[in-house]
Symmetry: C2
Subunit: 307 residues, 2 copies
Protein backbone atom coordinates (compact mmCIF):
# COMPACT_ATOMS: atom_id res chain seq x y z
CA UNK A 1 0.00 0.00 0.00
CA UNK A 2 1.21 3.50 -0.76
CA UNK A 3 2.35 5.55 2.22
CA UNK A 4 -0.41 7.95 3.34
CA UNK A 5 0.58 11.56 2.65
CA UNK A 6 -1.42 12.90 5.56
CA UNK A 7 -2.28 11.40 8.95
CA UNK A 8 -4.56 12.17 11.88
CA UNK A 9 -3.00 12.30 15.34
CA UNK A 10 -5.14 12.24 18.46
CA UNK A 11 -3.47 13.63 21.56
CA UNK A 12 -4.33 11.32 24.48
CA UNK A 13 -2.03 12.75 27.15
CA UNK A 14 -4.74 14.59 29.13
CA UNK A 15 -6.53 11.27 29.72
CA UNK A 16 -4.21 8.35 29.07
CA UNK A 17 -1.18 10.27 30.29
CA UNK A 18 -2.50 12.13 33.31
CA UNK A 19 -4.34 9.11 34.73
CA UNK A 20 -1.00 7.42 35.39
CA UNK A 21 0.49 10.34 37.29
CA UNK A 22 0.97 9.56 40.99
CA UNK A 23 0.60 13.17 42.14
CA UNK A 24 -2.68 15.04 41.70
CA UNK A 25 -2.46 17.56 38.86
CA UNK A 26 -4.42 20.72 39.74
CA UNK A 27 -7.39 21.40 37.44
CA UNK A 28 -5.91 24.80 36.51
CA UNK A 29 -2.80 23.11 35.16
CA UNK A 30 -4.80 20.55 33.20
CA UNK A 31 -6.86 23.30 31.61
CA UNK A 32 -3.75 25.31 30.72
CA UNK A 33 -2.05 22.28 29.17
CA UNK A 34 -5.10 21.25 27.13
CA UNK A 35 -5.49 24.82 25.88
CA UNK A 36 -1.82 24.74 24.82
CA UNK A 37 -2.51 21.51 22.92
CA UNK A 38 -5.47 23.16 21.21
CA UNK A 39 -3.19 25.99 20.07
CA UNK A 40 -0.76 23.41 18.65
CA UNK A 41 -3.41 22.42 16.13
CA UNK A 42 -4.79 19.12 17.40
CA UNK A 43 -8.22 18.42 15.96
CA UNK A 44 -8.64 15.44 18.29
CA UNK A 45 -7.87 15.39 22.00
CA UNK A 46 -8.87 12.78 24.56
CA UNK A 47 -9.58 14.87 27.63
CA UNK A 48 -11.55 12.95 30.23
CA UNK A 49 -12.73 9.61 31.47
CA UNK A 50 -16.02 8.80 33.17
CA UNK A 51 -14.65 6.24 35.57
CA UNK A 52 -15.27 5.95 39.29
CA UNK A 53 -13.31 8.70 41.03
CA UNK A 54 -12.25 6.26 43.76
CA UNK A 55 -10.62 4.07 41.08
CA UNK A 56 -8.89 6.88 39.18
CA UNK A 57 -8.94 9.98 41.42
CA UNK A 58 -6.61 11.83 39.04
CA UNK A 59 -9.50 12.19 36.55
CA UNK A 60 -12.25 13.06 39.06
CA UNK A 61 -12.35 16.66 37.80
CA UNK A 62 -13.25 15.61 34.23
CA UNK A 63 -16.47 17.62 33.98
CA UNK A 64 -14.79 20.74 35.34
CA UNK A 65 -11.97 20.29 32.82
CA UNK A 66 -14.47 19.91 29.96
CA UNK A 67 -16.25 23.03 31.22
CA UNK A 68 -13.23 25.24 31.46
CA UNK A 69 -10.99 24.38 28.49
CA UNK A 70 -10.92 26.71 25.50
CA UNK A 71 -9.92 25.00 22.30
CA UNK A 72 -10.64 25.87 18.64
CA UNK A 73 -14.13 25.00 17.39
CA UNK A 74 -12.87 22.29 15.05
CA UNK A 75 -11.21 20.35 17.90
CA UNK A 76 -13.06 17.13 18.56
CA UNK A 77 -12.93 16.25 22.25
CA UNK A 78 -13.05 12.60 23.28
CA UNK A 79 -14.11 11.04 26.57
CA UNK A 80 -13.55 7.45 27.63
CA UNK A 81 -16.28 5.40 29.29
CA UNK A 82 -15.66 1.98 30.83
CA UNK A 83 -19.30 0.82 31.05
CA UNK A 84 -22.96 1.88 30.77
CA UNK A 85 -22.87 3.59 34.14
CA UNK A 86 -19.96 5.71 32.90
CA UNK A 87 -21.85 6.47 29.71
CA UNK A 88 -24.89 7.59 31.75
CA UNK A 89 -22.67 10.06 33.58
CA UNK A 90 -21.00 11.25 30.39
CA UNK A 91 -24.33 11.89 28.68
CA UNK A 92 -25.36 14.22 31.49
CA UNK A 93 -22.89 16.67 29.91
CA UNK A 94 -23.44 15.44 26.38
CA UNK A 95 -22.84 18.79 24.64
CA UNK A 96 -19.30 19.13 26.00
CA UNK A 97 -17.59 16.52 23.79
CA UNK A 98 -17.83 14.92 20.36
CA UNK A 99 -16.37 11.43 20.53
CA UNK A 100 -16.81 8.61 23.01
CA UNK A 101 -14.28 5.82 23.40
CA UNK A 102 -15.37 2.40 24.63
CA UNK A 103 -12.95 -0.47 25.10
CA UNK A 104 -12.19 -4.10 25.72
CA UNK A 105 -8.98 -6.08 26.09
CA UNK A 106 -8.42 -8.73 23.44
CA UNK A 107 -6.83 -10.86 26.15
CA UNK A 108 -9.24 -12.47 28.60
CA UNK A 109 -6.82 -12.21 31.53
CA UNK A 110 -5.99 -8.55 30.93
CA UNK A 111 -9.67 -7.67 30.56
CA UNK A 112 -10.47 -9.42 33.85
CA UNK A 113 -7.64 -7.66 35.69
CA UNK A 114 -8.43 -4.29 34.13
CA UNK A 115 -12.24 -4.11 34.41
CA UNK A 116 -13.11 -7.27 36.38
CA UNK A 117 -15.40 -8.71 33.70
CA UNK A 118 -15.05 -11.32 30.98
CA UNK A 119 -14.56 -10.22 27.38
CA UNK A 120 -18.07 -11.48 26.56
CA UNK A 121 -19.63 -9.46 29.38
CA UNK A 122 -17.69 -6.36 28.30
CA UNK A 123 -18.67 -6.78 24.66
CA UNK A 124 -22.36 -7.23 25.50
CA UNK A 125 -22.23 -3.89 27.33
CA UNK A 126 -20.17 -2.36 24.49
CA UNK A 127 -22.81 -3.33 21.90
CA UNK A 128 -25.46 -1.47 23.88
CA UNK A 129 -23.18 1.52 24.50
CA UNK A 130 -22.13 1.84 20.85
CA UNK A 131 -25.76 2.02 19.77
CA UNK A 132 -26.59 4.62 22.43
CA UNK A 133 -23.56 6.74 21.49
CA UNK A 134 -24.50 6.71 17.81
CA UNK A 135 -28.15 7.47 18.67
CA UNK A 136 -26.93 10.56 20.56
CA UNK A 137 -25.24 11.78 17.37
CA UNK A 138 -21.78 11.27 18.83
CA UNK A 139 -18.85 9.47 17.19
CA UNK A 140 -18.12 6.08 18.70
CA UNK A 141 -14.47 5.01 18.74
CA UNK A 142 -13.78 1.51 19.99
CA UNK A 143 -10.42 0.59 21.49
CA UNK A 144 -9.06 -2.92 21.65
CA UNK A 145 -6.38 -3.11 24.34
CA UNK A 146 -3.57 -5.72 24.28
CA UNK A 147 -4.13 -6.08 20.51
CA UNK A 148 -0.50 -7.02 19.89
CA UNK A 149 0.23 -9.11 22.93
CA UNK A 150 -0.70 -9.58 26.56
CA UNK A 151 1.71 -9.56 29.47
CA UNK A 152 -0.21 -12.44 31.02
CA UNK A 153 -1.13 -14.54 27.98
CA UNK A 154 1.64 -13.68 25.52
CA UNK A 155 0.74 -13.58 21.85
CA UNK A 156 -2.86 -12.59 21.09
CA UNK A 157 -4.44 -14.17 18.02
CA UNK A 158 -4.83 -11.68 15.16
CA UNK A 159 -8.11 -13.26 14.05
CA UNK A 160 -9.58 -12.85 17.53
CA UNK A 161 -8.64 -9.16 17.59
CA UNK A 162 -10.16 -8.51 14.16
CA UNK A 163 -13.34 -10.40 15.12
CA UNK A 164 -13.76 -8.02 18.05
CA UNK A 165 -13.08 -5.08 15.72
CA UNK A 166 -15.73 -6.24 13.29
CA UNK A 167 -18.25 -6.64 16.09
CA UNK A 168 -17.54 -3.08 17.25
CA UNK A 169 -18.00 -1.80 13.68
CA UNK A 170 -21.30 -3.64 13.34
CA UNK A 171 -22.49 -2.01 16.58
CA UNK A 172 -21.78 1.43 15.10
CA UNK A 173 -18.14 2.29 15.91
CA UNK A 174 -16.69 4.34 13.05
CA UNK A 175 -13.14 4.10 14.37
CA UNK A 176 -11.29 1.15 15.86
CA UNK A 177 -8.11 1.81 17.82
CA UNK A 178 -5.68 -1.03 18.33
CA UNK A 179 -3.82 -0.53 21.58
CA UNK A 180 -0.36 -1.86 22.37
CA UNK A 181 -1.22 -1.48 26.04
CA UNK A 182 2.00 -2.85 27.50
CA UNK A 183 4.29 -2.27 24.51
CA UNK A 184 4.54 -5.75 23.06
CA UNK A 185 4.32 -4.94 19.35
CA UNK A 186 7.33 -5.00 17.04
CA UNK A 187 7.54 -3.37 13.60
CA UNK A 188 7.40 -6.62 11.63
CA UNK A 189 4.15 -7.53 13.38
CA UNK A 190 2.79 -3.98 13.07
CA UNK A 191 3.29 -4.22 9.32
CA UNK A 192 1.46 -7.55 9.09
CA UNK A 193 -1.25 -6.50 11.56
CA UNK A 194 -2.25 -3.19 9.95
CA UNK A 195 -2.26 -4.65 6.43
CA UNK A 196 -4.72 -7.29 7.69
CA UNK A 197 -6.82 -4.84 9.74
CA UNK A 198 -7.20 -2.34 6.89
CA UNK A 199 -8.16 -5.16 4.57
CA UNK A 200 -10.74 -6.55 7.00
CA UNK A 201 -12.32 -3.22 8.01
CA UNK A 202 -13.19 -1.23 4.89
CA UNK A 203 -14.90 2.07 5.64
CA UNK A 204 -13.76 2.01 9.28
CA UNK A 205 -11.03 4.33 10.52
CA UNK A 206 -8.19 2.14 11.75
CA UNK A 207 -6.11 3.78 14.47
CA UNK A 208 -2.72 2.71 15.84
CA UNK A 209 -2.00 3.28 19.52
CA UNK A 210 1.56 2.26 20.36
CA UNK A 211 3.59 2.42 23.54
CA UNK A 212 7.32 3.01 23.70
CA UNK A 213 8.01 0.45 26.38
CA UNK A 214 11.25 -0.84 24.89
CA UNK A 215 11.98 2.11 22.60
CA UNK A 216 10.51 0.75 19.38
CA UNK A 217 7.22 2.67 19.41
CA UNK A 218 8.10 4.92 16.49
CA UNK A 219 9.41 1.95 14.48
CA UNK A 220 5.97 0.39 14.97
CA UNK A 221 4.30 3.63 13.88
CA UNK A 222 6.48 3.78 10.77
CA UNK A 223 5.67 0.16 9.92
CA UNK A 224 1.93 0.79 10.42
CA UNK A 225 2.13 3.90 8.21
CA UNK A 226 3.86 1.94 5.46
CA UNK A 227 1.07 -0.63 5.70
CA UNK A 228 -1.43 2.17 5.02
CA UNK A 229 -2.49 3.26 8.51
CA UNK A 230 -3.29 6.99 8.58
CA UNK A 231 -4.57 7.47 12.13
CA UNK A 232 -2.47 7.49 15.28
CA UNK A 233 -2.74 8.21 18.98
CA UNK A 234 0.13 9.49 21.09
CA UNK A 235 0.84 11.36 24.27
CA UNK A 236 2.80 14.59 24.65
CA UNK A 237 5.93 14.21 26.77
CA UNK A 238 5.65 10.40 26.38
CA UNK A 239 3.27 10.46 29.36
CA UNK A 240 1.20 7.45 30.20
CA UNK A 241 1.48 3.74 30.54
CA UNK A 242 -0.87 1.15 31.88
CA UNK A 243 -1.80 0.39 35.48
CA UNK A 244 -1.81 -3.35 34.73
CA UNK A 245 0.83 -4.68 35.10
CA UNK A 246 2.79 -2.16 37.14
CA UNK A 247 6.01 -1.05 35.45
CA UNK A 248 4.56 -0.65 31.96
CA UNK A 249 5.98 2.60 30.64
CA UNK A 250 4.54 5.36 28.48
CA UNK A 251 2.85 5.97 25.19
CA UNK A 252 4.82 7.10 22.18
CA UNK A 253 5.64 10.80 22.47
CA UNK A 254 3.51 13.01 20.25
CA UNK A 255 6.35 15.42 19.54
CA UNK A 256 8.66 12.58 18.43
CA UNK A 257 5.93 11.07 16.23
CA UNK A 258 5.11 14.42 14.64
CA UNK A 259 8.78 15.17 14.08
CA UNK A 260 9.28 11.81 12.34
CA UNK A 261 6.25 12.29 10.10
CA UNK A 262 7.15 15.86 9.17
CA UNK A 263 10.74 14.89 8.39
CA UNK A 264 9.36 12.17 6.07
CA UNK A 265 7.10 14.68 4.36
CA UNK A 266 3.91 13.27 5.89
CA UNK A 267 1.49 16.02 6.93
CA UNK A 268 -0.13 16.13 10.37
CA UNK A 269 -1.59 19.64 10.40
CA UNK A 270 0.23 20.24 13.69
CA UNK A 271 2.58 23.02 14.75
CA UNK A 272 5.55 21.02 16.08
CA UNK A 273 7.27 23.81 18.04
CA UNK A 274 3.97 24.37 19.88
CA UNK A 275 3.59 20.65 20.60
CA UNK A 276 7.08 20.69 22.10
CA UNK A 277 6.20 23.81 24.06
CA UNK A 278 3.17 22.04 25.54
CA UNK A 279 5.31 19.00 26.44
CA UNK A 280 7.89 21.24 28.12
CA UNK A 281 5.08 22.92 30.03
CA UNK A 282 3.87 19.48 31.16
CA UNK A 283 7.40 18.74 32.30
CA UNK A 284 7.40 21.86 34.39
CA UNK A 285 3.94 21.12 35.85
CA UNK A 286 4.91 17.55 36.77
CA UNK A 287 8.29 18.63 38.09
CA UNK A 288 10.31 15.84 36.52
CA UNK A 289 12.23 15.21 33.31
CA UNK A 290 9.93 13.58 30.77
CA UNK A 291 11.29 10.92 28.43
CA UNK A 292 10.51 12.18 24.94
CA UNK A 293 13.55 13.03 22.83
CA UNK A 294 12.29 16.06 20.90
CA UNK A 295 11.60 17.76 24.20
CA UNK A 296 15.40 17.92 24.55
CA UNK A 297 16.50 18.26 20.92
CA UNK A 298 13.71 20.44 19.53
CA UNK A 299 12.54 20.14 15.91
CA UNK A 300 15.10 19.33 13.22
CA UNK A 301 15.02 22.98 12.12
CA UNK A 302 16.61 23.91 15.46
CA UNK A 303 19.52 21.48 14.97
CA UNK A 304 21.75 24.17 13.55
CA UNK A 305 21.32 26.33 16.63
CA UNK A 306 20.40 24.02 19.54
CA UNK A 307 18.54 25.66 22.38
CA UNK B 1 15.11 -6.91 -0.58
CA UNK B 2 14.31 -9.70 1.87
CA UNK B 3 14.76 -8.86 5.53
CA UNK B 4 18.11 -10.20 6.82
CA UNK B 5 17.56 -13.03 9.32
CA UNK B 6 20.72 -12.25 11.23
CA UNK B 7 22.53 -8.98 11.91
CA UNK B 8 25.86 -7.84 13.33
CA UNK B 9 25.79 -5.25 16.09
CA UNK B 10 28.92 -3.39 17.11
CA UNK B 11 28.83 -1.90 20.59
CA UNK B 12 30.35 1.59 20.39
CA UNK B 13 29.55 2.86 23.89
CA UNK B 14 33.06 2.51 25.32
CA UNK B 15 34.37 4.91 22.67
CA UNK B 16 31.54 6.88 21.11
CA UNK B 17 29.57 6.92 24.36
CA UNK B 18 32.24 7.51 26.97
CA UNK B 19 33.96 10.29 25.02
CA UNK B 20 30.92 12.50 25.50
CA UNK B 21 30.78 12.06 29.27
CA UNK B 22 31.63 15.25 31.11
CA UNK B 23 33.01 13.49 34.22
CA UNK B 24 36.11 11.32 33.97
CA UNK B 25 35.25 7.62 34.13
CA UNK B 26 37.89 5.71 36.12
CA UNK B 27 39.81 3.13 34.08
CA UNK B 28 38.69 0.38 36.46
CA UNK B 29 35.06 1.13 35.67
CA UNK B 30 35.69 1.21 31.91
CA UNK B 31 37.40 -2.18 32.10
CA UNK B 32 34.59 -3.67 34.17
CA UNK B 33 31.92 -2.36 31.77
CA UNK B 34 33.73 -3.59 28.65
CA UNK B 35 34.21 -7.01 30.25
CA UNK B 36 30.46 -7.08 30.96
CA UNK B 37 29.80 -6.28 27.29
CA UNK B 38 32.11 -9.12 26.28
CA UNK B 39 30.07 -11.50 28.45
CA UNK B 40 26.89 -10.29 26.72
CA UNK B 41 28.17 -11.80 23.49
CA UNK B 42 29.36 -8.84 21.42
CA UNK B 43 31.80 -9.94 18.74
CA UNK B 44 32.58 -6.32 17.89
CA UNK B 45 33.29 -3.56 20.40
CA UNK B 46 34.75 -0.13 19.72
CA UNK B 47 36.93 0.44 22.77
CA UNK B 48 39.38 3.25 22.23
CA UNK B 49 40.39 6.25 20.18
CA UNK B 50 43.89 7.43 19.36
CA UNK B 51 43.17 11.13 19.54
CA UNK B 52 45.13 13.82 21.33
CA UNK B 53 44.47 13.48 25.08
CA UNK B 54 44.16 17.26 25.42
CA UNK B 55 41.28 17.17 22.89
CA UNK B 56 39.44 14.19 24.39
CA UNK B 57 40.86 13.59 27.87
CA UNK B 58 38.14 11.03 28.62
CA UNK B 59 39.85 8.54 26.27
CA UNK B 60 43.46 9.24 27.34
CA UNK B 61 43.67 5.85 29.07
CA UNK B 62 42.93 3.93 25.84
CA UNK B 63 46.08 1.82 25.86
CA UNK B 64 45.62 0.87 29.51
CA UNK B 65 42.00 -0.10 28.78
CA UNK B 66 43.10 -2.25 25.81
CA UNK B 67 45.73 -3.85 28.05
CA UNK B 68 43.46 -4.71 30.91
CA UNK B 69 40.12 -5.80 29.40
CA UNK B 70 39.30 -9.50 29.25
CA UNK B 71 36.88 -10.39 26.49
CA UNK B 72 36.26 -13.65 24.63
CA UNK B 73 38.81 -14.53 21.93
CA UNK B 74 36.31 -14.05 19.12
CA UNK B 75 35.57 -10.44 20.11
CA UNK B 76 36.97 -8.04 17.55
CA UNK B 77 38.13 -4.83 19.19
CA UNK B 78 38.01 -1.61 17.22
CA UNK B 79 39.98 1.59 17.69
CA UNK B 80 39.29 4.92 16.04
CA UNK B 81 42.07 7.04 14.55
CA UNK B 82 41.53 10.60 13.31
CA UNK B 83 44.73 10.96 11.25
CA UNK B 84 48.10 9.40 10.39
CA UNK B 85 49.61 10.60 13.67
CA UNK B 86 46.86 8.73 15.53
CA UNK B 87 47.47 5.64 13.41
CA UNK B 88 51.20 5.80 14.25
CA UNK B 89 50.31 5.73 17.93
CA UNK B 90 47.76 2.93 17.50
CA UNK B 91 50.21 0.75 15.61
CA UNK B 92 52.62 0.92 18.55
CA UNK B 93 50.18 -1.47 20.27
CA UNK B 94 49.10 -3.17 17.06
CA UNK B 95 48.47 -6.60 18.59
CA UNK B 96 45.82 -5.31 21.02
CA UNK B 97 43.00 -4.73 18.51
CA UNK B 98 41.61 -6.06 15.24
CA UNK B 99 39.77 -3.28 13.48
CA UNK B 100 40.67 0.35 12.81
CA UNK B 101 38.05 2.98 12.07
CA UNK B 102 38.95 6.03 10.00
CA UNK B 103 36.46 8.76 9.21
CA UNK B 104 35.40 11.85 7.34
CA UNK B 105 32.28 14.02 7.41
CA UNK B 106 30.31 14.10 4.16
CA UNK B 107 29.57 17.74 4.91
CA UNK B 108 32.44 20.16 4.33
CA UNK B 109 31.40 22.44 7.19
CA UNK B 110 31.03 19.62 9.73
CA UNK B 111 34.40 18.15 8.71
CA UNK B 112 36.07 21.51 9.14
CA UNK B 113 34.52 22.07 12.57
CA UNK B 114 35.21 18.51 13.70
CA UNK B 115 38.80 17.93 12.53
CA UNK B 116 39.80 21.34 11.16
CA UNK B 117 40.60 20.08 7.66
CA UNK B 118 38.82 20.06 4.31
CA UNK B 119 37.16 16.86 3.13
CA UNK B 120 39.83 16.56 0.40
CA UNK B 121 42.67 16.86 2.91
CA UNK B 122 41.00 14.28 5.17
CA UNK B 123 40.41 11.86 2.31
CA UNK B 124 44.01 12.14 1.09
CA UNK B 125 45.16 11.13 4.57
CA UNK B 126 42.45 8.42 4.72
CA UNK B 127 43.68 6.85 1.47
CA UNK B 128 47.15 6.49 2.93
CA UNK B 129 45.82 5.23 6.29
CA UNK B 130 43.53 2.63 4.72
CA UNK B 131 46.43 1.14 2.78
CA UNK B 132 48.65 1.05 5.90
CA UNK B 133 45.89 -0.56 7.98
CA UNK B 134 45.34 -3.27 5.37
CA UNK B 135 49.09 -3.80 5.01
CA UNK B 136 49.23 -4.44 8.79
CA UNK B 137 46.67 -7.23 8.36
CA UNK B 138 44.01 -5.27 10.24
CA UNK B 139 40.42 -4.67 9.13
CA UNK B 140 39.77 -1.14 7.94
CA UNK B 141 36.29 0.24 8.62
CA UNK B 142 35.58 3.67 7.19
CA UNK B 143 32.96 5.92 8.74
CA UNK B 144 31.18 8.72 6.90
CA UNK B 145 29.77 11.18 9.42
CA UNK B 146 26.76 13.42 8.64
CA UNK B 147 25.74 10.93 5.90
CA UNK B 148 22.05 11.76 6.27
CA UNK B 149 22.20 15.47 6.91
CA UNK B 150 24.37 18.18 8.40
CA UNK B 151 23.31 20.61 11.11
CA UNK B 152 25.18 23.37 9.29
CA UNK B 153 24.49 22.55 5.64
CA UNK B 154 21.17 20.70 5.82
CA UNK B 155 20.59 17.91 3.33
CA UNK B 156 23.73 16.08 2.19
CA UNK B 157 23.72 14.75 -1.36
CA UNK B 158 23.38 10.96 -1.49
CA UNK B 159 25.66 10.72 -4.53
CA UNK B 160 28.39 12.63 -2.72
CA UNK B 161 28.19 10.27 0.26
CA UNK B 162 28.36 7.17 -1.92
CA UNK B 163 31.30 8.61 -3.90
CA UNK B 164 33.21 8.93 -0.63
CA UNK B 165 32.17 5.38 0.29
CA UNK B 166 33.46 4.03 -3.01
CA UNK B 167 36.76 5.85 -2.58
CA UNK B 168 37.15 4.30 0.88
CA UNK B 169 36.40 0.85 -0.55
CA UNK B 170 38.97 1.34 -3.32
CA UNK B 171 41.55 2.27 -0.69
CA UNK B 172 40.93 -1.03 1.12
CA UNK B 173 38.08 -0.46 3.59
CA UNK B 174 36.00 -3.64 3.87
CA UNK B 175 33.26 -1.95 5.87
CA UNK B 176 31.66 1.46 5.40
CA UNK B 177 29.65 2.91 8.29
CA UNK B 178 27.15 5.65 7.53
CA UNK B 179 26.80 7.88 10.56
CA UNK B 180 23.74 9.94 11.43
CA UNK B 181 25.99 12.08 13.57
CA UNK B 182 23.41 14.60 14.72
CA UNK B 183 20.28 12.50 14.23
CA UNK B 184 18.89 13.96 11.01
CA UNK B 185 17.80 10.76 9.26
CA UNK B 186 14.18 9.67 8.99
CA UNK B 187 12.94 6.17 8.13
CA UNK B 188 11.76 7.03 4.61
CA UNK B 189 15.24 8.35 3.77
CA UNK B 190 16.95 5.43 5.57
CA UNK B 191 15.00 3.07 3.32
CA UNK B 192 16.03 4.90 0.15
CA UNK B 193 19.60 5.44 1.34
CA UNK B 194 20.43 1.85 2.28
CA UNK B 195 18.87 0.41 -0.85
CA UNK B 196 21.14 2.71 -2.88
CA UNK B 197 24.22 2.08 -0.73
CA UNK B 198 23.90 -1.72 -0.86
CA UNK B 199 23.42 -1.52 -4.59
CA UNK B 200 26.45 0.69 -5.10
CA UNK B 201 28.83 -1.17 -2.76
CA UNK B 202 28.75 -4.88 -3.58
CA UNK B 203 31.15 -6.94 -1.48
CA UNK B 204 31.51 -4.18 1.11
CA UNK B 205 29.89 -4.45 4.54
CA UNK B 206 27.42 -1.59 4.82
CA UNK B 207 26.85 -0.47 8.41
CA UNK B 208 24.12 1.81 9.80
CA UNK B 209 24.98 4.10 12.67
CA UNK B 210 21.91 5.99 13.84
CA UNK B 211 21.32 8.45 16.64
CA UNK B 212 18.09 8.77 18.59
CA UNK B 213 18.07 12.55 18.68
CA UNK B 214 14.34 12.94 18.11
CA UNK B 215 13.30 9.41 19.09
CA UNK B 216 13.16 7.86 15.64
CA UNK B 217 16.49 5.99 15.74
CA UNK B 218 14.91 2.53 15.89
CA UNK B 219 12.47 3.42 13.11
CA UNK B 220 15.52 4.26 10.99
CA UNK B 221 17.15 0.96 11.96
CA UNK B 222 14.01 -0.96 11.03
CA UNK B 223 13.81 0.84 7.67
CA UNK B 224 17.51 0.11 6.97
CA UNK B 225 16.98 -3.55 7.90
CA UNK B 226 14.03 -3.82 5.54
CA UNK B 227 16.24 -2.35 2.80
CA UNK B 228 18.70 -5.18 3.40
CA UNK B 229 21.18 -3.67 5.85
CA UNK B 230 22.58 -6.34 8.19
CA UNK B 231 25.18 -4.42 10.18
CA UNK B 232 24.49 -1.86 12.90
CA UNK B 233 26.27 0.19 15.52
CA UNK B 234 24.70 1.24 18.79
CA UNK B 235 25.59 2.28 22.29
CA UNK B 236 24.50 0.65 25.53
CA UNK B 237 22.42 2.93 27.74
CA UNK B 238 21.89 5.24 24.75
CA UNK B 239 25.20 6.89 25.65
CA UNK B 240 26.90 9.23 23.25
CA UNK B 241 26.18 12.10 20.98
CA UNK B 242 28.40 14.43 19.08
CA UNK B 243 30.50 17.32 20.37
CA UNK B 244 29.59 19.40 17.28
CA UNK B 245 27.10 21.02 17.59
CA UNK B 246 26.55 21.05 21.35
CA UNK B 247 23.19 19.62 22.37
CA UNK B 248 23.19 16.65 19.97
CA UNK B 249 21.93 13.70 21.98
CA UNK B 250 22.85 10.03 22.03
CA UNK B 251 23.22 7.01 19.83
CA UNK B 252 20.46 4.45 19.57
CA UNK B 253 20.44 2.23 22.65
CA UNK B 254 21.90 -1.21 22.04
CA UNK B 255 19.44 -2.92 24.39
CA UNK B 256 16.44 -1.33 22.63
CA UNK B 257 17.83 -2.28 19.20
CA UNK B 258 18.53 -5.86 20.28
CA UNK B 259 15.11 -6.16 21.87
CA UNK B 260 13.41 -4.96 18.68
CA UNK B 261 15.38 -7.35 16.48
CA UNK B 262 14.81 -10.34 18.77
CA UNK B 263 11.09 -9.60 19.01
CA UNK B 264 11.00 -9.57 15.18
CA UNK B 265 12.82 -12.90 15.04
CA UNK B 266 16.07 -11.38 13.74
CA UNK B 267 19.13 -12.96 15.36
CA UNK B 268 21.93 -10.91 16.89
CA UNK B 269 23.86 -13.57 18.80
CA UNK B 270 23.56 -11.38 21.90
CA UNK B 271 22.31 -12.17 25.39
CA UNK B 272 19.79 -9.35 25.92
CA UNK B 273 19.46 -9.63 29.73
CA UNK B 274 23.25 -9.30 29.95
CA UNK B 275 23.25 -6.27 27.65
CA UNK B 276 20.66 -4.67 29.92
CA UNK B 277 22.73 -5.61 32.95
CA UNK B 278 25.76 -3.86 31.42
CA UNK B 279 23.65 -0.76 30.66
CA UNK B 280 22.33 -0.70 34.24
CA UNK B 281 25.91 -1.00 35.49
CA UNK B 282 26.86 1.97 33.28
CA UNK B 283 23.96 3.88 34.79
CA UNK B 284 25.29 3.17 38.24
CA UNK B 285 28.88 4.13 37.29
CA UNK B 286 27.76 7.41 35.70
CA UNK B 287 25.39 8.17 38.55
CA UNK B 288 22.50 9.34 36.44
CA UNK B 289 19.39 7.87 34.79
CA UNK B 290 20.21 6.83 31.25
CA UNK B 291 17.65 7.28 28.49
CA UNK B 292 17.21 3.81 26.99
CA UNK B 293 13.79 2.26 27.48
CA UNK B 294 14.69 -1.41 27.95
CA UNK B 295 16.89 -0.39 30.86
CA UNK B 296 13.60 0.37 32.66
CA UNK B 297 11.26 -2.22 31.14
CA UNK B 298 13.62 -5.17 30.74
CA UNK B 299 13.26 -7.68 27.90
CA UNK B 300 9.76 -8.57 26.69
CA UNK B 301 10.03 -11.87 28.56
CA UNK B 302 10.01 -9.90 31.83
CA UNK B 303 6.79 -8.08 30.92
CA UNK B 304 4.64 -10.55 32.81
CA UNK B 305 6.59 -9.96 36.02
CA UNK B 306 8.15 -6.51 35.84
CA UNK B 307 11.21 -5.96 38.01
Amino acid sequence: MARPQRVQIREVGPRDGFQNEPEHIPTDDKVRLINALGRAGFTRIEVASFVRPDVIPQLADGVEVLDRIEVPDDTKLMVLVPNSKGLDNALKVRDKFHEVAIFVSASETHNKKNVNRTVDETMADNDVMAKRIVAEGLDCAAVIATSFGCPFEGKVDLGRVLDLAERFAEAGATEIGFGDTTGMCNPAYASEFFAAALDRLPGVEVTAHFHNTRGQGLANAYAALEAGCASFESSFGELGGCPVPAGSTGNIATEDLVSMFHEMGVETGLDLPRVIEAAREAQSVLGRKLTSHSIVAGPIEWAASPR
